[in-house]
Amino acid sequence: MVHGRDPLRTSLTRRHALRLAGVTAGAASLAGTTGARAASFARAQGAPGGELVVGATQDGYRNEPNRANIGMYPLNPNVFESLVRLTPDYQIEPLLAESWEFVEPNTWRFTLRQGVTFHDGTPFTAEAVRWSMGRIAASGGGVLGVDENSTVVIDDFTVEITPTRPNRRLPQQLNHPNNSIVAPNTEPAETRVGTGPFREVEYAREDQYVVEAFDGYWGDAPGLSRITFRFIPDATSRVLALQSGEVDLIYEVPRESAQDLPSSGDFTLATSTVGAYEALYVNIHGAEPYDLGQDPAIREALAYAIDKETIVSGVWQGNAEISDTMIPPAILGPAADTITGTTFDPERARGLLDAAEWVAGDDGTRAKDGRRLALAMIVGFPNAEIHRPMPEFVQAQLADVGIEMEIVQTPDTASYEERLGTGEGDLWAEAGSQNDGNPCFLPDLLFSTPVPDGDPESTAYGRAFAPGADFDAHIEECRSAVPPEEVQAAAASAMKVLIDEQFVVIPLAGTFRLFGVAAKVTGFEAHPSGVNQRWAGVTVAG
């Protein structure tokens, strides 16, 4: 997940945006149900049969002992399952755990599903959870914060997990594929034995991953007999592979291809609900010459000067929606409505700058006390390319209200983060995505006030963007609450500080996952978190 900010290169048409609204409504209605959904998710649409060839992105698996995540992340071929699952509306639902409860002060007790077997015939019991958590502990404890003593088997189908630090978000974190349950005494670096609807047939590094339907699956039988995931790193090559008939479905259609793909009638675009975002962060703690973001009037003016609608239609070619929340609104539930965001209002932006005595000069750029209102936008996370041409759009819009903006592209993420560490920039363009069900994960990681000996990257972000005590208090509430509604409310309050009150974050667009799908493929539903994509309900005609 790499703090949940992996790149997206998606797009879709207005027609698909409308369709998306329908999908969102469907997802919302699904959210009203509970555990019964887990068993019914893998809707077989006929007897197992049909082979699907998928053009996936590059092979991103690592294969070290204890840290190996082959068959899990980032490509999730549904070989493994976790205790819980992330719904398309970012709620957590039962999977290998049927229920769970919090036991004060810091323990989560899970009741496990019975009648589940691994692909090698081993019954799934609490021992498998202990073994799997032990792997995570051996690799440092992960975001869960577990060690070798954290997991205690109560009986065959009851297990308790007590993280080494207070962690009330554990169930919302467990859905991540890296927290999958593996068969006891197996190591995914060598062999992949899970409980998922598909079992591994072959993994050829950097080439392909082949799975077949698992006859003994505890849920409904998958609709496909076999899936071949071919690793094709280049996005254009993936589109061409789809058009040539070499693959039936592709990940991450580039937005410039999205308009043309469906025109032949042989392909469709499958879009997810919002699962990712593009936003600008304003450096509010910078030293001269990057200290202009400390002026609240400038920050607020920036928020009103940027026309998000133009960005959505121009940059994303309609394949996104205007976002007020940065993180996917679905994860905040009803609390998302408390964040109002800003609407494009250049007059108001000019008024704010006038009131702050930033006066327009002969060339249109404002100045105050001899200093020009000139900002630098740093573009490079996760890479500069995926933001194009957003920076140029914003540059033109800011010029219209008298703000000069220089665009600085960094060659890669490391250079971007290096620059962030020194605070050399005013506006920071970022694209990211949400891959687990923890609504405070991203705001906590990126905007909390740095603490001594804290996470180095979080510290770098905090030094530039942390809005202070109010925000931190909401994050603390978010960390410590147990009821989901309280967690969502606290996360929304934190986002409100960032977006509506301090104007540290200017959300630009909520973006979708976009898949290219051959007409013969049915039953595919794009998940907003690509690493949680499900395959059991897919069928292939003919």
Binding site: H3, E64, G140, D234, A241, S244, D453, D455, E457
Partner: protein
Amino acid sequence: MIPYLLRRLIYLGPVWLGISFIAFALSSLSPGDPARLTLQRQLDRQPTAEEVTRAREDLGLDAPFVVRYVRWVGDAVTGDLGTSYRTGEPVLGALLERFPNTLRITLLGLGGAVAVALPLGVMAAVWRNSPLDHLSRIVSLLGASMPSYWVAYLLILLFAVRLHLLPVAGRGTWQHMVLPATTLGLATGASLMRLTRSEMLEVLGQDFVRTGRAKGLGPRAVIVGHALRNALIPVVTVAGLRFAGLLGGAVIVETIFAWPGIGKFVLDSIFDRDYPVIQGFVVFMGTVFLIVNLAVDLSYGLLDPRIRLGQR
């Protein structure tokens, strides 16, 4: 010949050391903390400050630059290029595992380029200003001008999407090698064709060619036996350099065709600041360059009897 070979081999030592030093220094100067990037990837979360400190110690990154370089180069001469921060594999093993894939399409591309470029270059020179000459010049100009990624997509569109004759990407059959090799070979073929033509034109105007003709030698003996053999020295030099360049620079082609070669592996390593792989790759490819250059130099003696290597 043997003294010359020994002398050249001795010269390789300092050059190799220079390459290793530059590789080590440049990658060490790059922005980004490899310890943190490595942990971030391995843990799939942000590491704590203690974890980063511990990782820096484990990876030996806390030692002074000179100490790290001496330690690294000492291991390198024994074939130990370290362990990839990113994948945990021994670097040499990872490079050797992927190198044959790159070598395969490079050899095929270069072989095809030479097979087409030499005859066309010779014919263009022999029939100067003929339609064949004009055509070959246009083709070679186009081949040298078109960027490889564009050629790659054109070839895919034509042979995979339209004609369904060849696969778009991947590996497994000989068909999978055709398009990447063609893409790699096209620019090389174009430049070799132009070079062959110009060298042949120069040689064909020299006295010994006229003498050969005056003595009654047939056109084939003059062109192939005398002119081409003399014209080949610069062609072989360029072909050798292009060959080594293709081995190290096939990354775009490998990415487009999802060909699991050495270039793609190293590119990913660069983005992840996987120093051992970056340094190992530079040294590995530097070594390949040196060997290819040596082979090219030695081939001069075979091509031109006037050159008596080691006796000069």
